[in-house]
Subunit: 303 residues, 2 copies
């Protein structure tokens, strides 16, 4: 029989995923709830968390709580300021912030910030740092850690540290152009299409005039070169190609650990192969969060 020892959660803008750990760090229960930051309504963070506990985990309110994600932003429960890169697991432990609560013992993991090497551009992440250190726990080798998504992150790992990282607004750009620009107008019943996707990857990689290349989504349709149902795959290719070439030029085809789930990670795998990355491995995003939250907890309690 196992004894519960920690409740942790990845608490973001839309998602809330809770993990209950035993004393050995094994996850013995998982729970998702619709209390992302934008769905809280009139509830405080404490009330929202208590309601989840009451429904699903009664009697466990005495456990320590550890939260990562946007819950630590300025709009969150309490701000856990971004910690600077280079950063290791200890950096996250040092940056933990206690959330104000009368009933619960809650700590929040800080996000990270970095200047992109060579450009002076500032970058921030919240939640991904926990996934990254979760994966580094079992495999601390150097290379890229890539987390595709709304705001894709490319972290440079060296000596078990996050040296620096960049953000690419690839996922959000895709949604916004599809829903709100002229490029979405001719798109129909989108289906995956490898040919159109790879054509987009090639165009996005080898033509750096981004604002010009994307207009070809319209002209390729006007001249019947790409079917309306494949335009979305073509646009997706251009965007992912544009993201990949920027990192490839700066850092070469380093080994990549690709973190995430489902169809999006499939696309990145194809695109990275096309771009000449030879050493690409993929990891489950939820498992990475689970491992990272436990690693932070262990290091904190060992001190």
């Amino acid at each position: 029989m196992t004894t519960p020892s920690l409740i942790a959660a990845d608490w973001g803008t839309t998602n809330f995923r809770l993990f209950l750990y035993d004393e050995a760090g094994k996850v013995i229960a998982r729970h998702a709830a619709n209390i992302g930051l934008k769905n809280l309504g009139v509830l405080t963070f404490e009330q929202a968390l208590l309601s989840v506990l009451k429904d699903e985990f009664a009697g466990l309110e005495h456990l320590p709580f550890l939260l990562s994600g946007m819950v630590g932003s300025r709009q969150g429960w309490v701000e856990a300021p971004y910690a600077a890169c280079p950063a290791d697991l200890q950096t996250l432990v040092d940056g933990l912030v206690r959330a104000p609560s009368e009933k619960l013992d809650v700590s929040i993991v800080p996000g990270l910030f970095a200047e992109s090497p060579g450009t002076g551009l500032l970058n921030v992440m919240r939640g991904e740092e926990t996934q990254i250190f979760g994966l580094l726990k079992s495999d601390p080798t150097d290379g890229f850690m890539v987390l595709p998504g709304t705001h894709s992150k490319w972290a440079l790992i060296r000596d078990g540290q996050v040296q620096s990282f960049s953000t690419h607004m690839t996922g959000e750009m895709f949604q916004v152009l599809k829903a709100h620009s002229i490029l979405g107008v001719l798109m129909e019943n989108s289906t995956d299409n490898e040919e159109a996707f790879l054509k987009g990857i090639e165009r996005g990689m080898y033509n750096r005039a981004f604002l010009s290349v994307i207009f070809s989504v319209r002209t390729e349709a006007l001249f019947n070169n790409i079917a309306p149902a494949h335009l979305s795959a073509y646009l997706s290719g251009i965007l992912i190609g544009s993201e990949i070439i920027a990192e490839l030029e700066r850092h070469g085809p380093s080994p990549v650990r690709l973190v995430g789930d489902g169809a999006l990670v499939d696309l990145y795998e194809k695109a990275l192969a096309f771009a000449g990355f030879k050493d690409v491995t993929r990891f489950d995003g939820n498992a990475a969060s689970e491992a990272g939250l436990w690693a932070i907890h262990k290091l904190r309690t060992a001190q």
Copy 2:
């Protein structure tokens, strides 16, 4: 006393601007109406045009009519297919298409299409070709003709011809990101700010990872480096800088004729100066349309 000889119009998706010419090509009356393609409602193109004539130009229905712009697109009155570059004024005359009308003698100017040199990307324009040849009539020198806007056009002029051109979705990208992306969230009471604009130009020119650079609109705000009221100027700078560097790299700092009106052209003038273009002159966009429509009419009737 002057005799009316031609009615011409620039008829686009949102705008309709009509010009009445005397026999010497002087514009003796102008009229704007709210009958852009998206505002036509149940009216046919012929009905819409007749209603404008009835209200403002009664008795002139016997004149020849010449129309340019989206009225010649697949969604227009009749399609005037895109003519291929290189193109000169004769190309436009050869591509004129008669619109079906029982009461009026209407011809529509074709748009142009081109493959961007070196990239294979297709480009199209409708309306701008008429402005370009209007300006070339008085000044046929080589260089760039640049028409900033929703979809900015950079036409390469050589020997009085449009050799080729590119499109940059700069204006639309600005609107879409401001209204529908996370980058608009922190923007407040936007005001012009030269410092933020030039910082954006520099970042957009010297950092080619477009999807990454734009995320700095958010981080520069998070770290209080740029005031919320200046974020919009900063984003605008990134986009225009990104447009300009692409053309500068391909074709060098050729002389630029900048065509348009108002604040947007002011911004491009500043940005081009920053980018090292020495020979930049500006021209009024409406005057260019007027001159172009007359030039097409003259060449047609001389034959």
